[in-house]
């Protein structure tokens, strides 16, 4: 995972509320056994016409949106399923930041583990961003600020641990594995949850 410290990019705006993970990537593309190449299916139902060609009226297909790494989305982005294919598809497509007024729990957790920074802003900033597409913004994890045009700057919050992992480009498995002796001790001291001892 590439470290994320600071990024300046233009925004691409999808103003719809409650964009669910079935829209981000439909279930028929989940039969893959790898993470690779899912960007081609991102927002598949909206990006492509029935004949499979790109829909020129969809924002992400427009010329000015090409290369945008910051997605500004309507309230409650990423609701629905736990599929990590959603952030995988966004990352593969090039998205590194998602900005909204609410981001669904599982999607947010998955995004942070895959190099995508989920940012919550207030209604006023959100409205401004929704109504001003294709503006250059800077997301800086060192100062935890989002810089907008006109020297405007807002702070945002991120779990300190998630921030650390994003900035170092490390995943959390190493941290968990380093606690193995604590897990051993827990299992010794807590006999009250019997294993299910499955026999097929």
């Amino acid at each position: 995972m590439e470290p994320f410290v600071s990024l300046t990019s233009r925004t691409v705006v999808l103003p719809a509320e409650d964009i669910d993970t079935d829209q981000i990537i439909p279930a028929r593309f989940l039969t893959t056994t790898t993470r690779a190449g899912l960007g081609q299916h991102l927002f598949s139902e909206w990006r492509y016409l029935d004949d499979g060609t790109p829909d020129p009226s969809f924002t992400m297909n427009m010329r000015q949106s090409q290369g945008a790494q910051v997605l500004v989305a309507g309230h409650n982005f990423g609701c629905g399923s736990s599929r990590e294919h959603a952030p995988w598809a966004l990352y593969d497509f090039g998205i590194r930041v998602v900005i909204s007024t609410q981001i669904a729990d599982i999607f947010r957790s998955n995004a942070q583990k895959n190099g995508i920074v989920p940012i919550l802003v207030n209604d006023e900033i959100h409205q401004w961003l929704l109504t001003h597409p294709d503006v250059a913004v800077t997301v800086d994890l060192e100062s935890m600020t989002l810089r907008l045009p006109g020297a405007r700057q807002v702070e945002f919050e991120l779990d300190p641990f998630a921030r650390h992992c994003l900035m170092q480009g490390v995943d959390q498995l190493g941290f968990l594995l380093a606690q193995t002796s604590d897990v051993d001790a827990f299992e010794r001291d807590q006999p009250l949850t019997p294993a299910i001892a499955v026999a097929s």
Binding site: L30, T31, K113, Q172, L173, A199
Partner: protein, 458 residues
């Protein structure tokens, strides 16, 4: 200090406590695995030379992309990515020693149906799965929630997850459900009240007279859709109903262990005076059968009502307009199944309506039991004969038309009355228009070919 049920389970599973700089390390008692969200997690174990820490706390099954036609399921699978995914889980389970309920297993079924059915989902457990409907197991007073594939890898390797403490919300449901109004209608009404994102960051505890009166299968239906209000999880305190359900099941404790477990489980309730971050109240006795009209489960209304003002794009997609009644809306497909409504009592509900009646010409009706055990139980009491003689299809167990990954799909532009959990655009097939409802409402639509209030058939 008085504690909520959630607090008790949360506290009990802290391996390392939460701090400002790091989330809590939470121990996981039961990890459920299926073919769609696990391949990349097993790949990480291979890349790093890791093993599965507790195969005895891990259960795998095949459900999402499996065929529901017996000839395909038990014959040669058609080559393609779905088959590759099935074979990948078979190989991963064999290589890592994880018990798998394979395609030919008598215990196979939808992951959230078989966990409870086998008695593997215990009160007080932490239960996770790479599937957002893991909240189903909260019906047993377990803290059960969906995780992504990276976290599936974490649990396989360490039996732990890094989690920040969520907030709590009491959902108090007073009164009793009226005849013809089901647990599905209740949870749809709750989602309508909270909104599709209203539970975000919270663990819901369903409480009150109406919840206490529900059977375990009905509680599972309620907890199942907690995620559709954005909630992290949903749970119900264990009581006599829970104990009666669990007793004697395959992975339930036995003998002296059972007595010890029961005394622990009896303490699993929110203490009097426990403080929730939020609470809402609902009156179950005022509810009618519910049906969705839009493109998420929060867009829901009483079946005898009219479509309210809503997002234009949602109504356009659904081909519906504000102010319109849904009763009488022609229907093309009826689906009874999914981890929400595929258990024996759900099939009995559908059969009550279909008994001695016929599926309307032009309607395709599919009944898909949640597990092979449900299928056998239903057949033992003759439910399949009711479905088949009505003209419905009776299939092998699986997720089927809920997620449309296995070939069972709704056509573009077609209306489906479905007992599943999501009416998102394209969920049941590209362009499919899904109306979520109870098994009784779905069966009534199959009979008339139109959206119908099921109470007229009871």
């Amino acid at each position: 200090m008085p504690q909520t049920l959630f607090d008790k389970i949360w506290q009990r599973h802290q391996v390392v406590g939460e701090s400002a700089s790091a989330p809590a390390t939470v121990y996981i008692d039961l990890h459920l695995v299926h073919e769609v969200t696990s391949p990349q997690a097993f790949s990480v174990l291979r890349e790093r030379g890791l093993s599965v820490r507790r195969p005895d706390r891990t259960l795998a099954t095949l459900d999402h992309s499996t065929p529901t036609r017996a000839a395909e399921l038990y014959g040669a699978l058609r080559p393609g990515p779905a088959t590759t995914q099935i074979q990948t889980l078979q190989k991963n389970c064999a290589d890592f020693g994880v018990p798998l309920y394979d395609l030919d297993s008598r215990e196979r079924g939808i992951v959230h149906v078989i966990g409870p059915e086998l008695g593997a989902s215990h009160p007080g457990f932490t239960i996770v799965c790479g599937d957002s409907h893991t909240s189903t197991h909260g019906a047993f007073g377990a803290l059960a929630f969906g995780i992504g594939t990276t976290e599936v890898g974490h649990v396989l390797a360490t039996q732990c997850l890094l989690q920040r403490r969520p907030k709590t919300m009491a959902v108090n449901v007073n009164g009793r459900l009226a005849p013809g109004v089901s647990a599905k209608d209740l949870i749809l009404a709750i989602i309508g009240r909270l909104g599709v994102g209203g539970g975000t960051g919270h663990v819901l505890e369903y409480r009150g007279e109406a919840i206490a009166a529900l059977s375990m299968e009905q509680r599972m239906t309620v907890c199942n859709m907690s995620i559709e209000a954005g909630a992290r999880a949903g749970l119900v305190a264990p009581d006599d109903t829970t104990l009666e359900y669990l007793h004697g099941r395959r992975f339930a404790p036995r003998g002296r262990d059972w007595a010890a477990a029961v005394s622990r489980w009896r303490a699993l309730r929110s203490d009097d005076g426990a403080v929730f971050d939020r609470s809402v109240e609902l009156d179950a006795s005022a509810l009618a059968p519910m049906i969705t009209y839009g493109t998420h489960p929060g867009m829901v209304m009483p079946i005898d009502g009219t479509v309210p003002a809503s997002q234009r794009s949602a109504l356009d997609y659904m081909g519906l307009s504000e102010g319109q009644r849904l009763i009488g809306q022609p229907v093309d497909v009826v689906f009874v199944g999914s981890c929400t409504n595929s258990r024996l009592s759900d099939l009995r509900d559908a059969a009550r309506v279909l008994r001695g009646r016929k599926v309307r010409d032009g309607v395709r009706a599919l009944v898909v039991p949640g597990s092979q055990q449900v299928k056998r139980d239903a057949e033992a009491e003759g439910l399949h004969e009711i479905f088949l003689s009505a003209g419905a299809q009776w299939r092998e167990s699986g997720c089927s038309m809920c997620i449309a990954m296995n070939g069972d799909a709704v056509g573009s532009g077609q209306y489906s009355v479905s007992t599943s959990n999501r009416n998102f655009e394209g969920r049941q097939g590209r362009g499919a228009r899904t109306l979520l409802a109870s098994p009784m409402t779905a069966a009534a639509a199959a009979v008339t070919g139109r959206v119908t209030d099921p109470r007229q058939f009871l």
